[in-house]
Amino acid sequence: MTAVREYPPAAAPAAGPAPMWPAGYLVAGRKEETSDTVTLMLRPAGNPIEPPRPGQFTMLYAFGVGEVPVSVSGIGQDQVLVQTIRAVGAVTRALCAAKPGDMIGVRGPFGTDWQVSAAGGRELLVVAGGIGLAPLRPVLLAALAARDRVVLLVGARSPRDLLFPRELETWRRRGADVRVTVDQGDPGWDGRVGLVTTLIPDAVADPARTTAFVCGPEIMMRLSAQALADAGVPARDIRVSLERNMRCGAALCGHCQLGPLLLCRDGPVVSYAEAVPLLAIREL
C-alpha cells in the first residue's frame, strides 16, 4: 500500500519566472472539428516556447478571460502549435472563438510525454475516447513516420462527435489499423456501435510485445486499461494521460495532486501500474 516513489523526481520543473509568463502566439489557422471542438494553429509572435514532446500540455490564455491546460495535438512547420480545444467553459469558449490573427498566450510545455520512441519496434495500440484523440494524434504521426505497426481504436459519443474523421482515413491509407465505434449511431452510420473498450480484446495480437496509449474520460481509461490487462498487456506497458485541475504547470500551486503525484510535473502521462492504486481511491 505504501508509496515507493523516489525523490527528487527525474523531470525538474523549468527554472525562473518564465514559466509563469505567457508567450504571445497568433492564430494562424482555425478548423471547426465538431459542434463544440475547434483546432487552432498557433504561430509564435515572438520567442517560441520549447518544442513540446507528444503528450505534453500547454496553458492557453485568452486575453482578460483566463487560462486552461490544453494538450498539444501536433507541431507544424515554423514551430506552429496545433491545439484542439473543446468549448466547455468561459475560457475554452473564448479560445474556440479566436479568429485568425488573434493573439493567444501560451505557457509550457509542461509534464511528461508518451515516450513513443521508447516503444519503437513494438506493437502500438492507441485507445482514444472523445477529445482524448487530440493528445494521441502526435503518437499516431510519430508511429507512422517510424513505420511502427499501430492499431488505433477510437470511440466517440456519436458520428457527429468523431474527431479528425478525414485524418482517420489518411492514417488508414498510410498503414494504421483504424477501428471506430460510437456510443450512439445515427441514420447515416453503418459502423460499429458500442464502447471503445469492446474493441480491445480483438485488437491485442501479441500482449507481451504491445505498448498501449490510452486517453479519454477517466472512467473510459480505467475500463480500457482493465480490458488491456485482461488481454494480457502488462500494466507497465499501458500508458494513460490523467487530468486534474492544472493551474500553474510548474508544480507550485498544489491543485493537480493525485496522491503522491503532482500531475503537471509527474504526469499527465503515467504508467497504468502507477495509476491503478491511485484511481481506485474515491475522491483522492
Binding site: 525562473g16 514559466p19 509568463w21 486575453f63 487560462e67 507550485l252 498544489g254
Partner: protein
C-alpha cells in the same frame, strides 16, 4: 560554507543591544519584521524599534483558543507561535504576477519588475526556520519572486525556551533549538543577572551586522545556562506526535473510518491551511479593467479545503468534507515526502490553535494509528 575564522563564538547583547541591532539592520536597508502585540494577538509586522516587541507578554494556547497573558518578567520572546508565519512575507497572500495591455497586434505582457523587498526577520522560531526551509524546496525555483525575496532575507532566529500548550516541535525534530539556516541565533535570558541575549553567529553577514552592535563575548556559564534553558524546553512540549512511520500510516489509512469522525467536526474553513507555515497552495485570478484594454494575473493563497480547489470540467474531485480533510492531512504528513522529500509538518501547533472547532492533528494521528492497529488485529488469522 563560511570559513570558521569568519564566525566568532557566542556573544552577549542586552536589551539596548537588541535595539541597536534593529537600527543597524534598518540602516542597511532592511525592512525589519518581528513580533508585536496588535488586535489581541502577537502578530508579525514591521518594527522600527525594540520598544514595539511584545515585552512582558505571553500566550495561552488551546485547541481553538488563543489568549494573550501578562508574564511576570519582561521577556520579549516569551510566547509561542501566533496566527501568522513568515510565509506571509516570503510567499505573500496576494501578488500580481504580471499585467498585460492590448496592442494592435494582440497584447503585451509586462512583468512586475519592482525590486523585491529586503526583509530582516527578527524572532524566527526553530520550527518556523524549518518551515522556511521546506517552502524553499517547494517554491524556491531559481529566479522566482520567492527565491529573490528569500535570498535577500536576513534571519535572526530565537531559540525556544517557552513552548506553548499546542507545540510539538521536539516530536517533529525541528526544535526547540535552531541548528542551521540563520544569520544570527538568539537565546533570551531573563534572570537575576538581567535581561540579555546570547547570540550565535550563523553567517559572515550575521557577524558583520553584529559587529555594529555593542556586544561582549558570552561567558561559559552564561552560554551553558542558555543551552540548558533550550534543552529543558524540549521536555515541556504541550503536545507529542509519534513521527516514525507517519508516511506509511497515511498511505495505509485512506479508507479509515476516522475521516468520517473528523469530517463531522471539520467546518472545511481552511483556517489551518492559512495559519500553517508550510501550506503553499495558490490559485490565480485573471482580471480586466472596464475598458477591456488592460488585464492582470494575480496569485492568491488557496486552500485544499475549498470545494473548487479540485474542480475539473464536470465537477470537483473532492466533494466530501472527509476527502478534503484526508487530502490535507495525508499531504502534510505523507505525500509531501513523495513530492518534496520531507514532511510538511514542523510541529508549530498553529493548525490546532486556529481551528475554530479545535481539531488537533496529534489526536487525529493517534486515532488513525489505533484504528490501523485494530484493523491489523482483526485481519490477523487466529
Amino acid at each position: 560554507m563560511p570559513s570558521p575564522t569568519a564566525i566568532p563564538g557566542p556573544r552577549l547583547i542586552d536589551v539596548a543591544g537588541l535595539g541597536a541591532l534593529i537600527e543597524a539592520l534598518a540602516a542597511e536597508g532592511y525592512q525589519v519584521i518581528g513580533p508585536a502585540v496588535q488586535d489581541g494577538a502577537i502578530v508579525l509586522r514591521e518594527l522600527s524599534s525594540a520598544a514595539e516587541l511584545p515585552s512582558g507578554w505571553g500566550v495561552r494556547l488551546e485547541p481553538g483558543g488563543y489568549r494573550l497573558r501578562r508574564r511576570d518578567d519582561t521577556a520579549a520572546f516569551g510566547h509561542a507561535a501566533g496566527p501568522q508565519s513568515w510565509k506571509r512575507f516570503l510567499h505573500p497572500p496576494r501578488e500580481r504576477l504580471w499585467s498585460a495591455t492590448r496592442t494592435a497586434g494582440g497584447f503585451e505582457v509586462a512583468a512586475d519588475d519592482g525590486e523585491p523587498p529586503r526583509y530582516a526577520f527578527l524572532g524566527v522560531r526553530p520550527c518556523d526556520l524549518r518551515a522556511i526551509e521546506i517552502q524553499d524546496r517547494v517554491l524556491g525555483q531559481p529566479g522566482s519572486r520567492y527565491a529573490q525575496r528569500r535570498a535577500g532575507a536576513f534571519v535572526i532566529a530565537v531559540n525556544c525556551t517557552e513552548p506553548g500548550e499546542t507545540c510539538f516541535c521536539t516530536s517533529m525534530g525541528t526544535g526547540p533549538s535552531a541548528d542551521r539556516g540563520y544569520d544570527l541565533g538568539l537565546t533570551e535570558l531573563v534572570d537575576e543577572a538581567g535581561h540579555r541575549f546570547v547570540v550565535d553567529v550563523g553567517s559572515p553577514r550575521g557577524a558583520e551586522i553584529l559587529g555594529r552592535v555593542p556586544s561582549e563575548p558570552a561567558g561559559e556559564g552564561t552560554v551553558r545556562g542558555a543551552r540548558s534553558a533550550v534543552e529543558a524546553a524540549a521536555d515541556r512540549m504541550g503536545r507529542q506526535m509519534e513521527a516514525g512511520g507517519l508516511r506509511e500510516l497515511m498511505a495505509d489509512s485512506h479508507a479509515a473510518a476516522r475521516w468520517d469522525d473528523v469530517a463531522a467536526r471539520c467546518l472545511t474553513c481552511g483556517n489551518c491551511t492559512m495559519a500553517c507555515p508550510t501550506c503553499f497552495c495558490t490559485t490565480v485570478e485573471d482580471t480586466t479593467d472596464l475598458s477591456g484594454e488592460h488585464a492582470e494575473r494575480w496569485e492568491t493563497w488557496d486552500s485544499c479545503f475549498d470545494v473548487d480547489f479540485s474542480y475539473l470540467h464536470g465537477g470537483s474531485v473532492r466533494t466530501s468534507d472527509r476527502s478534503r480533510y484526508r487530502q490535507w492531512l495525508t499531504h502534510k504528513l505523507g505525500t509531501w515526502h513523495d513530492q518534496f522529500g520531507s514532511s510538511g509538518c514542523v510541529g508549530c501547533g498553529r493548525c490546532i490553535v486556529w481551528c475554530p472547532v479545535g481539531i488537533d492533528l496529534t489526536e487525529e494521528v493517534k486515532a488513525l494509528r489505533t484504528e490501523r492497529a485494530e484493523r491489523a488485529e482483526r485481519e490477523e488469522p487466529s
